[in-house]
Structures are given as C-alpha cells and as structure tokens.
Symmetry: C2
Subunit: 408 residues, 2 copies
C-alpha cells in the first residue's frame, strides 16, 4: 500500500472531520489512546468553565444550579449507549478497581454456596489483586482460581461463583467471546463480571445481548475522559434490586440529604455510589463523551480494522524480529496491535523519539492503540514506516533508550 | 462592636493579603467554606495548565515528565504539615468514605478478638454507613455501637476494637477532645479512627501528639481543593508495615509496573492507594494547598475565634429565636457557628438571596463556616447584621424559600 492509497482512504473517511475536535500536538502520531485518550478542545473549554464559573462563581449553589448532583447519572446515560445496556444500569464513580471490588462482593453475595472466583492468568493485574484483597478480607474459604485463556470454558464448574474476565487483553489485544463465555458461566450456575477497559469506546459492546451480569470500565482510555478519569460500573437490571455492594457511603443512600444514621440503599443503580462525586474530573469525562454522539460504532470498528491491516501489512513483512501477538481475525481482537520483541522497551523509546507514541508492556510487548476518531489512515501508515525504520536501522539500540522511566 | 471597630481589626489582619488569592464573586459573603471551599486564581490557572499542557501536549508522557505518578505523594506532604504527622504517613486518594472503609477494615484486622466499632450517634452519616456496610460484608459478629457524645468515655470497654469519631460535628461544630478520647481508647485496648473533615485546614491538628492510629479527611472543605476533591488517609507509622487494607488495586502494589498476577503491598503508605490517580482533581487540590505555605495555624485559629465572637456578639442578643448550638469555649468547637431554628432552611435561603451564603443541615440547623483565609472581620460583621435583618423582618417567611432544592 502506498502513501497515495492511504491518502485516498482518508479522503473518503467519514471520521476525518472528528480529528479536529482533538488537540494533538503538531507532528505527533498518537498510538497510545488505549492508555490515555487525548484531549479535545471542547473538553479543555468545558473544564475551564466548570472551574471558573460553576465552582468559582456558583460555589456551593452549583450542586443545584448546575445539577452537579446528577452529573454522574448524566454521564452514565452516555456510557449506557456505548455498551448496549438500558437506562439506569450504569453508575459513574470511583476507579475501575474500586468498582470491581463493589460488584465482585455483590456477586459473591448473590452466590452464597460457592467459593471460587474464576479468572484468567495474565488478566490485568488490578483485577486479580482486587479479588485477592476481597478474599483475604472475607476469610471464608474463597479462592481465586486462574487458568490459561483456553482452559476457561472447562474450568467453569459448580464451585465457581463468579467468572471475572477482561474482554480485551491489555498486552496481546486478544478479545474473548463474551457472549459464549457468559452463556457457559450461566449454564454452570455462575455469574459474570466483565472488565471493559479496552472495549468501551473502542467498538460496539453488547452487554445486555450477551446477558452479562456485571461490568466495570475505564474513563480514560478509549473514552478520552482525561488522566485518571472516573470509572463506571454496570449492573444488569435483575440484579439491582437486591444488590449488596459493601462500600455504603452517603451518596449511595436512598435519601442522602436526610442525614440519617441508618444506611438504606438507593433503590436504583445509584446505590453503587459512595462518596461525594469528583466534579472536575467528571466534567472532563462528560464533555469528552460527546464526540461519540452520532458515531456509528460498527463503522468506527470497520475503520479500526483497516488501520490494523495497514499497520500490519507494512510492519509484518519488513520486521521479522517482531512477533505479532494480536489475533488476525477481527472478532478475536480489540482495537490495538501488539508485537513481542526482546528490546520492546527500547524500541518504544526510539519510536517516541521519532514522535510516534506507542506503549510498552513488560516484559517484551510493544502495543499500539488504533483509534479511528483521531487517527488517519496516513497517520497509521506513516507510524508503521517509522517502526520499520527503527527496526531496520536498529535505532532502539542506544543505551539511553534502555533507561526505564518510573511509569512504563 | 461597630463597623469601624471591625475595619480596624481588618487593617491589622495578617491574613488580609491572602483574600486576593481567592476569586469570590463580588458582593458575596461566603460562609460555606466548610461545605465547599472557594476557588483560588492560582488553582484556576494550574488546572487549565494541567489540562492543556500536561494532558493535551504531554499526553501519556506526563506520567513521567510531569511526575503524575508521585502527585498524590507530593500532595500528601502538604497535608502532613497541616495535621501534625511525619512524612510518609498520609495517602491522598479516593473519597473520605472509601478511605474510611480501608482504614476501618485494617483496624478491625489489627484487633481480631474484638467485635465492636464504637461511634457517636449523629456522627456524619457516611461514617456510620461505611461501618454498617463493612459489618454486613464481614458477617462475623461485628457490631456498630453508637452512643451519645457524653457517653463515649464510659462506653469504651474490652469489646471495642475501634473508636470511630469525627473530631468536629458537622451540625453543631462541637469539637471532641481527640487526645483524651484516644488515650481512653488505648487504655481500653482499642484503636482510634478520627474523621478530620471539619478539622484539616481549619485549625492546628496534632494527630501524632495525640497518638491517633488512623485518620481520614476531606479535600474540598477547609482545604479548598474543589468540588469532590480527592480525600486523604493517615496511618500511624507503627501500623503501616502490617496494614491490611482490603481494596488492593495496582497502584497500591509494591511494583505496579511489573504487572504481576500476585498482589504484594507497597512497603510504604502508598499501599493505601487503589486505582489510577485522578490527575485533574488532584491538580486542583495540589494548587489549592499552597495557600497554607507559611500560614501560622495558631494565628489562623485566633482570627477564626475573633470571627466567632463578632458573629455571635451581633446575632445572639438580637435574635432570641436562634438557639446557638456551638460551644462557646474555643477548644470545644471547630471553625463554624451554628444555630437551631425551626425554619432554618427558609432562613438560609433568605440569607442567600441577600448574598450571604450559609448552609442548612436538616432538620433545623443554620451553620456558617468561619474561614480566616478569605473572610474579613467586616465580612463576618456584615453577614451577622444581614442575619439579624432576616430574622427581625421575617424575610425567611416567604413560600419560595421553603421549596427544597435537591441538595440541601
């Protein structure tokens, strides 16, 4: 594929006008939107307005006059549309880890006779860590059982209370069959929790159609909500009424402003809330999500698939040292492309020095987010050629690129 | 006291120059900084810079180049100085409620043979709610026992694992004797958790001198960190090494970027962290705290006491309908003044209509925050006279003022 070919694709690209909504530094090709989505101009302006007008001028009155109290619910409505669930089933609050703690405790409570949390080895660490911490706290014979991906189906048995999985693996980009694994879990009498960190905003997610029980997800990757943006949690409608989530703070109370001593959970999904909502961070996420208004997620994904083809078709034939670890079948992968390379860290540093920002994941993964809202076909073609040059000319082979930063 | 008298006090006020750091709307007298501290110009500018430069330009690289990863630790250092504790004992993360869940679980784990959490009736609701949720989760015979304030000392016995108290009551402003109650708790073999929501930033807090075991606090009241600002947690040095907090996310891991399956807590206070830190909200809090640099907290409190005297000396003689519920002895109160009045809600609405912003707390409390960083003596004198006028002319007695807003 030539530069002219990808330029032709860009001319027909329905998403091309959206690129201007993002303020990405001149000259940078940003393939790390699956770690931290970039900033939009509207988000920058909205945060400034919330700080100076809503907080600065409105002060405490803005809880009512700017409806801060319902801001999490407003944002939840935008996320519900992206993950295929009905209104009133998503709460926006806290971090992905904390929301996982809440839904995992609730799921175990709903399966009292079972003691196993089944997950995958090499699941995103915080998901496993949260399960371990909850198990230690409960001290009641619970077990976190992790198996290889391909052993998951066989590992579902009548000991399993909850199957806890991340749909798209953060290293390889492999996407699990959510509907089938959920079906198997239910057939085995277990509940499911899906982590949508690399799913929401990346492609059309259909939680309700897959009968998923609980899900959690992240606001700062494909949703572009800003560094450390608030996270979300989904609870299927049939589980809300009896949901027992254990971190029972005043904002999850049925009547928080009656200030009563006894906790009574809100009858709705709002019982997932805990403390006072972080308005500034929520404001960024609220604004960031508007870009999805009217976006056809199937068309978005079709473009992501073309970006994958462009990147792989340039890199794979030219770079035998790079082992493609992302599945080729589109329905088996998320919206990234990842390679194994012994000097992956230095390779990513060399790329960044060339203004192509990708990501390293220990010990040996280079990963690149494919985000059609702000990447052109030519961006991805160009980035692939820079990677080819980095490999061919061994640009990664400089001592400076091996000095690990704090955050890798 | 005449207007000339308070103007004379303002001319000698060491804190007068700090008032200009805050961008409070013209004409407003803001007596609600104990609900939501006001915005500083430096904070507005810093948040704008973090959004546009650090996120917008720096993108993912800012985790290293702007040291986002250590931002919570940097902020913790500023808070440590305000609450009288050594370096490395405060974590800045999550909400007050969630931090309370963590330290309460850790405290119960450290007193395995005891089953009672002792607290006060009419403690701030979320503190009691969090204890109730944790007890339900543990399902191991735990009990939340609440007594009247004056019964606390007698209620400490060998069943009590943890004494959980808020230093300053959110309604009355009554301040408990932290050192004495902590001494009694320890004498009875219990640990203590103190909620500093209405203490940190309001006066000199001396946690270490009082031998407090754990504390939690709020970033958005007297610390002025913005609506829903991140909260903090203190763990006494001797408890950190063996601290078992149950929400074990990747940012509390000893080596988060090794991405290993097994959780191993950070050896430091950072094990209190859970998920990815909310950078935008943290940035506001970070900047807001700089105003305390060089502030003599004893002098700050001395001014707050003068503000209390001014307000009470104007209001109490003129308004027999208002029952002062805040203790007169300075060491028995926080930095607010509160009155009981049957039509307190309408009264506060009438005041707000006169540009004096105070706070209502159900069912019948009018409370006013006394915050010397940005309130002049004349502000408080003037506000007191407006309250006198509201009461004398029954300005509260209009149907419109009784229509409750969502957030009260």
């Amino acid at each position: 594929m030539t530069r002219a070919d990808v330029q032709a694709l860009d001319r027909e690209d329905l998403f091309a006008p959206l690129r201007n909504a993002f303020e990405i530094p001149e000259g940078v090709i940003y393939l790390d939107g699956n770690s931290l989505g970039p900033m939009q101009g509207a988000t920058r302006r909205h945060v400034a307005d919330v700080v100076s007008q809503q907080w600065g001028e409105g002060l405490i009155r803005s809880w009512n006059t700017h409806d801060w109290i319902d801001l999490p619910t407003k944002i939840a409505g935008k996320i519900e549309g992206l993950i295929g669930v009905p209104k009133g089933t998503v709460a926006v609050c806290d971090s992905t880890s904390i929301n996982l703690f809440k839904v995992l405790a609730a799921a175990l409570h709903a399966r009292p006779s079972r003691r196993v949390i089944l997950s995958e080895r090499n699941n995103f660490p915080t998901d496993l860590h949260i399960a371990q911490g909850l198990i230690d706290l409960l001290a009641d014979g619970y077990e976190l059982r992790t198996v290889a991906t391909d052993e998951l189906a066989d590992a579902i048995n009548d000991e399993v209370a909850v199957v806890l999985l991340t749909e798209v693996n953060y290293r390889t980009g492999r996407r699990l069959d959510m509907a089938e694994l959920t079906r198997l879990a239910h057939a085995g009498g277990a509940l499911t929790i899906w982590d949508l960190a690399h799913s929401a905003g990346a492609f059309k997610v259909e939680l309700a159609a897959a009968n998923v029980d609980f899900a959690v997800g992240c606001g700062y990757k494909f949703l572009n909500g800003g560094p450390g943006a608030p996270a979300f949690a989904y609870v299927a409608p049939q589980h809300i009424k009896d949901l027992r989530q254990p971190i029972t703070g005043w904002f999850g109370h049925a009547t928080p402003f009656n200030f009563v001593d006894d906790y009574a959970p809100a009858p709705s999904i709002e019982r997932m809330r805990v403390g006072t909502p972080p308005i500034l961070s929520l404001a960024a996420l609220d604004s960031a999500l508007d870009i999805f208004d009217g976006v056809d997620m199937l068309a978005l994904r079709a473009k992501a698939d073309r970006l994958f083809e462009i990147f792989s078709s340039v890199v794979v034939p030219e770079c035998p040292e790079l082992e493609l670890v992302t599945p080729l079948a589109p329905n088996q992968r998320g919206s990234q492309i990842a390679f194994r390379f012994e000097e992956a860290y230095a390779g990513v540093q060399a790329l960044i020095a060339q203004n192509v920002i990708g990501d390293f994941r220990t010990p040996d993964i280079m990963r690149f987010g494919l985000t059609p809202l702000y990447l052109s076909h030519e961006d991805v073609w160009q980035a692939a050629h820079v990677l080819v040059k980095v490999m061919r000319d061994r640009l990664w082979d400089q001592p400076a690129y091996r000095v690990r930063a704090k955050v890798v």
